[in-house]
Amino acid sequence: MAELLQMVNISKHFGPVIANSNVDLTVKAGEVHALLGENGAGKSTLMNVLYGLYAQTEGEVYYKGEKVDIRTPGQAIALGIGMVHQHFMLIPALSVIENVVLGYEGNGAVLDLKKAARDFTEMSRQYGMEIDPWMRVEQLTVGQQQRLEILKALYRNAELLILDEPTAVLTPQEVDSLFAIIRRLTSEGKTIIFISHKLAEIMTICDRCTVLRLGRVVAEGMQVSEIVDAQQLAELMVGQAVNLKTDKSDATTGRTVLQVKGVSALNERKLEALRDVTFEIKAGEILGVAGVDGNGQSELVKCITGLLPVTSGSIEIEGVECANKQPKQILKQGVAHIPEDRQKMGMVSAMNLRENLCLMEYDHEPYSSKAGFLRWSWIDKHSRELCQRYQVRTPGVTELAGNLSGGNQQKLVVGRELDREPALLIAVHPSRGLDIGATKYIQSRIVQERDRGAAVLLVSTELDEVMDLSDRILVIYEGKVMGIIAQKDADRKQLGLLMAGMRNGNGEKSVV
């Protein structure tokens, strides 16, 4: 195979932060090349340099043997490079199809959106990732947005496709179909750079990999087949031994912490999103919610946290009725919430780490005094501790949260929430975008919280995560509870059927 891309001696500095240091990357035509590394290792930065979003501090790029100087994404696109960004590059106020054709070279002066929508629908059907082209992007779930990002790049027929953590919020089925697409693309001679923290995925789909650690290359162009196990890879990335086991004993449950009874709710589009949902969580247990993204999980969490009104039903937290109460009152019941979209909701990008770490608890001691003043010296100390404990890689606690790498932003939010010793912990995609080490650490922390006596509601599109961590698993489909299964009774096949809206495994679609 010929070398399609060579990045030579690339360095990228952000002020005092060195994100990439003399990185070499060689990608062969037609391969799927994995780019691996811990959170903050510099993967996204390297790809942004390639895509023309960042100008490298030093180094050269050769594409198809020729030296290229890519200064804008426009140039990258013209060269046939496409990129799916770690953080969505979508325009929420526009429709799906408008997002797709935006900036597309093949557009006429007058847009024919109907035709474009037909082409797009056909293409998305082919790839098994259907999205209504006329929907406004802000109405899409995170998973749908991720699919749209991939489809957007495919629509442009890129030759070299960079996928920066595309699977972070996809369901297993979606991951499978994405892999099918990737295989088809490579068979068509296209080349993929694939960034992921999930070893299984890398083993399945990638040919070779390059590993970054602290901005430097530690393994270049290594054959994926040479990787023995996750342990080896983790050690390669981190540079030392890592514990990848999640120790979990049986649950010892206590009082009922969360009691949801007959809850129905409309989503932001005013469509029915939850229908008569009933369940409870006791202290010391983890209830996992399994379901294909967009089946009411977001709404359920929002109803419990007071961010979305319920139309009927009751939600009791620690015996206190919380339906349609102000978020603040609910938080006072000891609720911690790792939100699904960290950038949109979970943090304030333009504030620094310290300010982000006191977001939930700023209004009482020891964060602030009775008189209403914040205790910055305490917060400062506490923030340092948290950053250390949750391995948030940052130049300091006065760094802007928005400047952290995606995974580190996640650690920031997760760390903050876990640290609150909540009675009820609601964790939505808690390990989204985290590297292997961090994922395991966060998962074991969630289990620890359970063992401490917290009730945990775990929402994840990652079926493995749900199955590993949960004591009981609730399957949701189109806003309705399909069933609640104890962990030991759960098997993938049965869960998969329930998630697809089929009961009793007889293939019959249940009436909802």
């Binding site: 500095h13 002020g15 102000q326 978020p327 304030v348 977001l359 700023y362 209403g372 914040l374």
Partner: protein
């Protein structure tokens, strides 16, 4: 070592950019002066500088003029921190002045301290109420404050016009459209004999300190900033967004109102039809934004704009450059100061990235560290 270097670069930068900006704007302005008058630009600029900082009296003048700008800048900045674009400082300033006049003139028999305090409070409340209106309209009806505040400015102007032509018109001396003079018991005196800068300067300083302490040291101010930067996150963290907006506009209006009050009770002495021909509100926006909405920045840029105003007056008087030419030069200074980052092209790449990557927020951090 690196830290010291960065600090040094930052230090140079804070001085370097505005200085170069002013030099360039003066250079371009000199072309205008040459083209339109007989005066040599050097002479014109000398009078500009002398009028602003040339001697004690000039500096006195500069400070005097800076005071109202600092208040209106605080008004804009306070709202901006909560994500509200308050273009209404102009009206809030005027209503504050009106309320102060009503209390100042209306209760002439009070002793000095209570009367003065009462007048200041009235000014603050007047502005706060006038700031509350757009805030309520926004949270209740979703009416864009961008428009309502501008509209309220025009309305305030008519309210003032109505009041000084009727209810509070001074009937004692003559029938001019102006209020009676503010009695001595409600007037803010000068700080030093022979100078005009008055105790309002101290009030302004206290307001700046309050702005800083409130936003960066209190829970309530923190809420306000979170809501301003990411309302979703604020909601998620249990903050009441509507209440934050209302609070920020009350304070913003209050600052402007206090400024208006002080301008009347310390400088103008009575409310007139023409009390607000200087665009206090709009200049305040420029002051706030040039000062990066941060406390020290607002102080410095307030003095800069005060100086520009004072110097421009002298330049008009001492040279044959007409007031419109002076206006042009003022405008150029504003443009280039606001666009001062363009001169980064001349400095190292390192500097450039830092300034670009972390725009105004870098100042926040500096604020907190102390």
């Amino acid at each position: 070592m690196e830290k010291i270097r960065v600090k040094a670069i930052n230090g140079v930068k804070t001085v370097y950019f505005p200085v170069v900006a002013i030099l360039v704007s003066l250079l371009i302005g000199s072309v205008v002066i040459l083209a339109t008058s007989q005066t040599s630009p050097l002479v014109a600029y000398e009078s500009l500088f002398k009028g602003a900082f040339g001697n004690l009296r000039a500096f006195d003048d500069t400070l005097l003029k800076a005071i109202p700008f600092i208040f209106t800048a605080l008004s804009f900045a306070m709202a901006k921190r909560c994500g509200i674009i308050n273009l209404g400082a102009e009206g809030q300033f005027a209503i504050g002045a009106l309320m102060a006049t009503i209390v100042g003139v209306g209760m002439p028999d009070l002793p000095l301290v209570p009367h003065l305090l009462l007048t200041l409070v009235a000014g603050f409340i007047g502005g706060a109420i006038y700031g509350l209106i757009p805030a309520l309209l926004k949270v209740q009806f979703g009416a864009s404050e961008l428009i309502t505040t501008i509209m309220l400015n025009y309305i305030a102007k008519e309210i003032i016009s109505f009041m000084v032509n009727g209810p509070i018109m001074d009937s004692a001396s003559s029938l001019y459209p102006q209020s009676a003079p503010i009695p001595g018991s409600a007037r803010l005196p000068a700080m030093f004999a022979g100078m005009r800068v008055h105790w309002g300067a101290i009030v302004a300083l206290l307001a700046v300190v309050f702005y800083y302490v409130y936003l960066w040291k209190t829970k309530s101010g923190y809420e306000l900033r979170v809501v301003g930067l990411n309302p979703n996150a604020g909601h998620y963290a249990g903050m009441n967004i509507k209440r934050s907006i209302i609070r920020s506009m009350l304070l913003a209006g209050g600052f402007a109102g206090l400024g208006g009050c002080i301008e009347i009770i310390a400088v103008q002495g009575r409310l007139m039809m023409t009390s607000f021909t200087v665009t206090y509100g709009f200049t305040g926006i420029a002051v706030a934004l040039v000062g990066g909405n941060n406390p020290i920045g607002i102080l410095i840029s307030g003095v800069l704009f005060g100086g520009l105003q004072a110097g421009a007056l002298r330049m008009q008087m001492m040279t044959d450059a007409s007031s419109s030419v002076v206006q042009v030069i003022q405008a150029l200074v504003i443009l280039f100061i606001a666009g001062r980052l363009m001169f980064r092209l001349r400095t190292g790449r390192h500097l450039r990235q830092r300034t670009l990557a972390v725009p105004p927020v870098a100042m926040d951090e500096r604020g907190e560290k102390r």
